[in-house]
């Protein structure tokens, strides 16, 4: 056995000689980013060797690391093996995404407050002396609880007698939604993040308050158009359009639920709570409400407040559960953003924080003191590879990173193998490299028409599309900062959410002026914050109130009629 110390926390571990460092981290539960899972193409698992000796730098590391990093003793955890005693390493990139949920749970320890829970009861059976109704008897357990479900009332008399007046209440928030026998133990919740492109479902064990499973699927509505407006166009052109889009969505969500049930051997009947976070258009369609009036000026949604409804109104496979739907802020700031603000605990964090969901809708929230400003910048799909000649979403075969080493261009491909296209993060890197090489000028002009990354050609039109998308986001940031009357030096942190956010190279994002000039150490990639918010509301019912407060508090700044926006939009098209 040899000793290894992990900095800066000074965690001391004893490990087998010859262990792989990434494996050590995994086994000991130490957090480190490792997007490729240790295959050696993501370069995320960087550590700094502060003391001691390990295996020599291998070819993968030589390819992935910059000279400057090698000089600083930076290594890749997945590539090195521990061969000597008394080693000290520092983890460079931690999984910010996971930290948020675990930190939250840690801060909540002791005050467990789940949205759905079980409460045992034992009642005196009725007698001639005590002829109270079954419902009164049940309600006497806790006067804070209420009861609304006719279907349950129909069964109540039989159930109570079958269980001998002893069993467990299933309570959603403060409502009794079911009664089960006294041995019944496990209840579950499902959190959904309904994105325009991707849907993610999380299965949570509501007893132990832990995540059990996760399934992600492409949003089946994609065949009806990639952005929300194209989906609404379909609705405008087809009288049963809402119905069609609603049904394909619900079918996929039900498939995810069924898959959870099968994979984890749980009863559908034991799922009692579902939470839904989605942008405003997705939330409308989920509920079967036409989003038509969101799609043109003055962009008004049908509703804004959060909703709690019976799951049977939406899911035929879940007759007894309850659905919680995150509140919306406006037609273009939806429940996904509210959930993201919850997950990152934006309101309670100190300082001024910029929260950006870099995607087609480009939602931005700026928290200054206790105020929240927001806008939607309509960046378009370039970050997801849309409208780019060889563009593709971040999936197998997409170039996701490009970098220079000794004047030569290197790149990585998701899933290894041959490059099939380039995704937003790859294009962002490519632009930064092209600027560095002088192939591209700061106005966005390519002097040398032919620029290839592997087999993928970056065209002048691609750069122009990217300029529009990048500048829309940056201009939105500038407008919010003006509204809050703060300058760059007053921004303490930037949180980047969304799928693209996971891959983005912070330094390059600063270099091409997508982000305002702040230290890259204050930029955090927060992953799927919408999904995390959806999970958190299941774990803590107080979040319902918090979400309500946030949706009321957020100030929405309409950019359409904002002349400042146009000014910045033109200004920041340059790199």
């Amino acid at each position: 056995m040899i000793k290894i110390k992990i900095l800066p926390e000074n965690v001391l571990l004893e490990v087998e000689i010859g262990s792989n460092l990434l494996n050590v981290f995994r086994e000991k539960g130490i957090d480190i980013e490792s997007d490729c899972g240790g295959k050696g193409w993501c370069g995320k698992c960087k550590v700094r060797l502060a003391k001691g000796k390990v295996t020599e730098l291998n070819d993968v590391e030589k390819r992935m690391l910059k000279n400057e990093e090698i000089n600083r003793n930076i290594r890749l955890a997945c590539q090195l093996f521990l061969i000597e005693d008394n080693i000290e390493v520092e983890v460079m990139n931690k999984n910010k995404k996971i930290e948020i949920v675990t930190n939250f749970l840690k801060s909540r320890e002791g005050k467990k407050n789940p949205l759905v829970r079980l409460k045992p009861f034992k009642l005196e059976p009725p007698s001639l002396k005590d002829q109270r109704s079954d419902l009164e008897r049940l309600s006497s357990i806790d006067t804070n609880l209420h009861f609304e479900d006719l279907r349950l009332l129909r069964n109540l008399p039989h159930l109570l007698r079958e269980y001998n007046f002893e069993g467990k209440l299933v309570i959603f928030k403060d409502e009794i939604i079911d009664i089960r026998d006294r041995n019944f133990k496990s209840i579950y919740g499902v959190a959904f993040d309904i994105g325009t492109t991707t849907i993610v479902g999380y299965l949570l064990d509501m007893n132990d308050l832990r995540e059990v499973d996760i399934i992600s699927r492409v949003n089946p509505q994609r065949v009806y158009g990639s952005d929300v407006l194209s989906r609404i166009s379909f609705i405008l052109q087809n009288s049963d359009g809402v119905d069609i889009l609603h049904k394909v969505l619900i079918r996929t969500l039900e498939e995810i639920i069924l898959e959870f049930s099968k994979r984890n051997h749980i009863n559908l009947d034991d799922i009692y709570a579902i939470s839904i976070a989605g942008n405003s258009v997705m939330t409308h369609i989920f509920l079967g409400i036409s989003p038509e009036y969101i799609s043109y000026s003055p962009f008004s949604p049908a509703f804004r407040d959060s909703l709690v409804i019976s799951s049977r109104e939406i899911f035929s496979i879940l007759p007894k559960a309850k659905l919680y739907i995150f509140p919306l802020v406006s037609g273009y700031i939806g429940g996904d953003i509210v959930a993201g603000i919850i997950a990152t605990d934006l309101l309670r964090e100190k300082g001024n924080i910029l929260f950006i969901d870099i995607g087609t809708n480009g939602e931005i929230v700026l928290k200054v003191e206790d105020r929240l400003y927001s806008c939607a910048t309509a960046a378009g799909p370039a970050f997801e590879g849309g409208n780019i000649s060889c563009g593709m979403i971040a999936s197998q075969g997409a170039i996701d990173h490009v970098w220079l080493k000794d004047g030569k261009v290197f790149y990585s491909v998701i899933g290894g193998g041959e490059e099939k296209g380039i995704t937003g993060s790859g294009l962002l890197d490519a632009i930064s490299v092209m600027l560095e090489l002088g192939i591209l000028d700061s106005k966005g002009r390519i002097n040398d028409e032919e620029f290839y990354i592997g087999k993928i050609k970056i065209t002048q039109r691609d750069i122009r599309e990217f300029q529009l998308a990048k500048s829309a986001i940056r201009a939105g940031i500038e407008v919010l900062m003006r509204n809050a009357s703060i300058g760059y030096d007053k921004i303490d942190k930037i949180y980047i959410a969304g799928a693209f956010g996971n891959y983005i190279d912070k330094e390059n994002a600063l270099k091409i002026k997508l982000l305002p000039p702040i230290s890259k150490d204050n930029i955090f990639l927060v992953g799927n914050s919408s999904g995390m918010g959806a999970k958190l509301v299941l774990l803590d019912k107080e979040i319902i109130e918090k979400a309500k407060e946030i949706s009321k508090k957020i100030e929405y700044i309409e950019l359409s009629s904002n002349s400042e926006f146009n000014k910045y939009f033109v200004e920041f098209m340059y790199f």
Partner: protein
């Protein structure tokens, strides 16, 4: 003439101040308005249009040059007594109802202005009724509509149908544009022309006017 070439170059470089200086100097030298405009200011915008079309320059450069050109025009406009040979035609333009995007439309307006047309810009969120009113009031040769949202494109057809109902359709040519608009869509709704970008819009308008 050297000074006209210099005016054109200053427009291309987007040097507003220099354009103003040179235009004043040209006036002192008694060069005709027509020449200053056509061979100076508009010649410069012509080059900008070409470069924009070839993607060599982008929105910011066009805007800067257009502003320089406009600064020159502002000096000359009050002096124009007879617009014949200077103003090639009149165009009413606007972004359709429900749509508030105007950067593309503004670019088109400026390029058309830079090609010698008089522009009446109705702004954004323009209802069919407002188009009708403007046509009655200004009697333009061409009406241009812009839409950036797939959900507001149908408003173009509504507007054309309204023009028909009002008996105005034959008095004007209708052209349409905006990122989601296609030539097929333009044909389908009965528009007279479509252009994919601002410099193509100039070519389109030139060809419509020359056929008149």
């Amino acid at each position: 003439m050297e000074i006209l070439r210099e005016i054109a170059n200053s427009v291309i470089a987007g040097n507003k101040k220099r354009v103003q200086e040179l235009v004043n100097k040209a006036l002192e030298e008694n060069i005709s308005l027509e020449e200053i405009i056509n061979d100076g200011l508009l010649a410069g915008m012509g080059v900008i249009g070409e470069r924009f079309k070839r993607n060599e320059i982008f929105v910011p450069e066009v805007l800067v040059s257009a502003r320089a050109m406009q600064a020159g025009m502002d000096i000359l406009r009050p002096l124009i007594v007879n617009s014949k040979g200077i103003i090639k035609g009149k165009i009413v333009i606007g972004t359709v109802k429900g749509d508030l995007h105007d950067i593309g439309k503004n670019l088109v307006s400026m390029m058309l202005e830079g090609a010698g047309y008089e522009i009446i810009d109705l702004g954004i969120d323009v209802s069919p009724e407002k188009f009708v009113e403007a046509i009655k009031e200004h009697n333009p040769d061409i009406v241009g509509m812009s839409a950036l949202l797939t959900t507001t494109m149908p408003q173009m057809k509504v507007t054309i149908d309204t023009l028909k109902k009002e008996g105005l359709r034959d008095r004007v040519k209708v052209i349409v544009g905006g990122a989601p608009v296609t030539p097929e869509f333009a044909r389908e709704i009965g528009a007279d022309g479509y252009a994919k970008d601002a410099s193509e819009a100039v070519e389109l308008v030139n060809s419509i006017i020359s056929k008149k």
